[in-house]
Amino acid sequence: MMGLDAIRVRAVVRKELLDYRRKRAIVVSMIIFPVLFLVEPIVSIFLASPSESGPALDKYVVLPLLYMLLISVVTPSTLAAYSVVGEREQGTLEPLLTTPLREQEFIFGKAAAVMIPTLIISYVVYGLFLAAVALFAHADMARAVFHNGPVLLALFLFAPLVAGWAIVVGMAVSVRASEVRVAQQLGMLASFPMIGVILLLAVGVIHPTFAVALEFAVGILAIDLLALRIVARMFNRERLVTGAKATGS
């Protein structure tokens, strides 16, 4: 991947964030999804009345915490899916492509602009949830949550990684899609692998240990970086401008 120009990347990020701020529907939808994904953890942690104690409580705690990771997957998928095809539909892509902006800078800038609000929302929601657990949950449940150090650490460390996955998948769809609605529907597919992992944890196929978390983190990071490169390669100016594949010699 060629070098990225910091000024150009920053310009893309700044403009995207400004655009989100000006469109209330984007802000509202970014907040609604995390709230919806809080319901299950709240029900599991706050309404459960544990008859067991100590490590046996982990089964009540681990899954709801990991379930919250879906916030970081679902929140960016719509925005990422809109990123390229949306510009194309509103007629702003062609002027953009006439500037010295490189494909990688465009993709990286767009990805960063989606990542920033996603992480802010994810971490704020996680923080509020943990604060509520500390203050209002049953003492045994609260202890079980806060004694699950590796899971909590994974929650915070995995948020950018799984968000990165959702963003690159969404952008890959956006680069290839012919219209926004199709892109946004396909972009939601990004959450499937994460749901799969949670299901595997739920049925006990994968046991959440520190080593497993580390392996997953490295694996997702590698996939994210590779996918980012692939998306940049998929970005074909000619196809995006004319709808036809490049036939140049």
Binding site: R14, K15, T98, P100, G248
Partner: protein, 480 residues
């Protein structure tokens, strides 16, 4: 013969770090690598006189670049340290070495070489056998400084057209360019040149390949065959970014972000052109299109004409060597069109090279120095008057009060009349070789025959006539 100047750059050997001392630094002129600079060494670069941005990719962060480099020949205008562009390797390295401040940086130096020698650049290139020098020589002539100190518009005393005409370079050179989309041909075997400071009109019916040509020259799409040089740079995938730095394109639809203000739209594009502090440029561009008082308006609230003006302001931001305007008045009302025309006339007076595609023949006739008429292939190119003379014979229109008794006999006695026809009673069109010679002869002959002459005038063929003549020829040719 082109005038060149030697820029000699030396790297002082004061740096203490062994790892730093051992590394060679790449020297780039206007974006292209021209050589490398080892510690304590000197590099000579042949440049066309004018301002250039010399970029040295240095390893450590240089707090005192003035103490590190000497421009032995040439005047250093300023130094600027800025972070090298981000790459995954550098980002990773940043994460590891952030605390010990071993951050990679580029050093930007603006230099103005002394105009010293007059040498044939090509000869020098061959003699030296240096690819680096060749690149510098090829790229430098049309180089406009792209630093924050560059004014948006050329001044009257220093028009870019005049400067580049001196080097004999054309703004655009297109040779046998062809573009196919699958089995469909957008344009085929097109060749033309556009000089610096020229307003060049590109005309043709829908589907003639005008927009595809603009997109091709603007590096948005790749040609299927043929070559082109845009602002002095060969059109190729490797040169895409450099070409896009030097040209600006206004597509038919301005493509503004409607939720952002006019200024925010321009700030965004200034950033994409790598301009750091662009406030002055933005204000200049807005004033140039008379939009200074609408700077903080949301683009969504502007009329189509005003949006078009914002689009024009955007194309001015980067101080382009060539502006491509793709049907800038499409869909505008007459008043808004007139405003855009006046802006283009203003830009022409300032020496900006403009490539204008349009359907509107009156617009092309009014604004363009030369026009090309396309219909997949290039049908003709030249000044409007030249095209008229190429396609239409010169003629006189004679109107008399009453029809002539025997016009055939009367006109046959005038030697300068080649042929004649009568369009209406008392109206005659005479094909002549030279109207200035024929008009007095015809007048004398008519008066001698006792005709009551109402008027004798030279017929004027418009660009529209030329256009329809050529396009109709194509239609006729395609008929089975």
């Amino acid at each position: 013969m082109s005038e060149t100047a030697n820029l000699r750059l030396s790297r002082k050997s004061w740096l203490s770090s062994n790892s730093t001392r051992g590394r060679t630094w790449t020297v780039l002129v206007d974006g292209s690598a021209v050589g490398s600079l080892a510690n304590g060494s000197i590099v000579d670069i042949a440049l066309i006189p004018g301002r250039h941005v010399v970029r040295v990719q240095s390893t450590p962060f240089l707090r005192s670049p003035e103490a590190t480099f000497d421009a032995l020949a040439g005047q250093v205008i300023g130094f600027l340290c800025r972070p090298r562009s981000l790459s995954p390797v550098i980002v990773t390295r940043w994460l590891f070495w952030l605390l010990i401040s071993l951050i990679n940086h580029d050093l930007w130096i603006s230099l103005e070489p002394d105009a010293a020698t007059s040498t044939d650049v090509a000869d020098r290139r061959v003699a030296a056998g240096s690819v680096a020098q060749a690149r510098a020589a090829v790229i430098s002539p049309s180089s406009e400084p792209r630093t924050s100190t560059t004014p948006v518009r050329a001044t009257a005393n220093n028009p870019p057209a005049a400067r580049d005409r001196a080097t004999g370079q054309s703004a655009l050179v297109v040779s046998n360019l062809t573009k196919h989309f699958g089995g469909r041909t957008a344009f085929s075997d097109v060749s033309f040149e556009v000089g610096y400071g020229e307003v060049f009109g590109f005309l043709g019916p829908n589907g003639a390949g005008k927009t595809t040509m603009v997109r091709t020259l603007g590096t948005l799409i790749e040609p299927s065959s043929g070559t082109a040089t845009v602002a002095g740079i060969p059109l190729s995938r490797e040169n895409e970014v450099e070409i896009r730095r030097r040209v600006s394109i206004m597509p038919e639809s301005p493509g503004l972000y409607l939720r952002l203000t006019v200024t925010e739209n321009l700030e965004y594009f200034a950033g994409l052109y790598g301009l750091r502090k662009a406030t002055t440029r933005i204000n200049d561009a807005l004033n140039a299109v008379n939009l200074g008082d609408r700077a903080s308006d949301l683009c969504g609230g502007l009329s189509k004409g005003l949006r078009q003006r914002v689009g024009l302001a955007r194309t001015l931001l980067s101080d382009p060597a060539i502006m491509f305007l793709d049907e800038p008045t499409a869909g505008l009302d007459p008043v808004a069109s007139l405003e855009v025309h006046n802006l283009i006339i203003g830009l022409r007076q300032k020496g900006v090279t403009i490539f204008l595609t349009t359907h509107r023949l009156d617009e092309a006739e009014k604004l363009c120095d030369r026009v090309a008429i396309m219909n997949t292939t290039l049908r003709t190119v030249g000044r409007t008057e030249e095209l008229r003379e190429q396609i239409f014979k010169r003629s006189l229109i004679v109107k008399t009060l009453a029809p002539l008794n025997d016009p055939g006999q009367l006109f046959s006695r005038v030697p300068s009349i080649e042929e004649w026809r009568s369009d209406d009673a008392g109206s005659y069109v005479l094909t002549v070789s030279d109207p200035k010679v024929a008009a007095p002869e015809v007048t004398r002959s008519l008066v001698g025959a006792g005709a009551d002459v109402l008027s004798i005038s030279e017929s004027r063929h418009s660009l529209e006539d030329v256009y329809f003549e050529l396009v109709n020829q194509d239609v006729e040719a395609r008929r089975p």
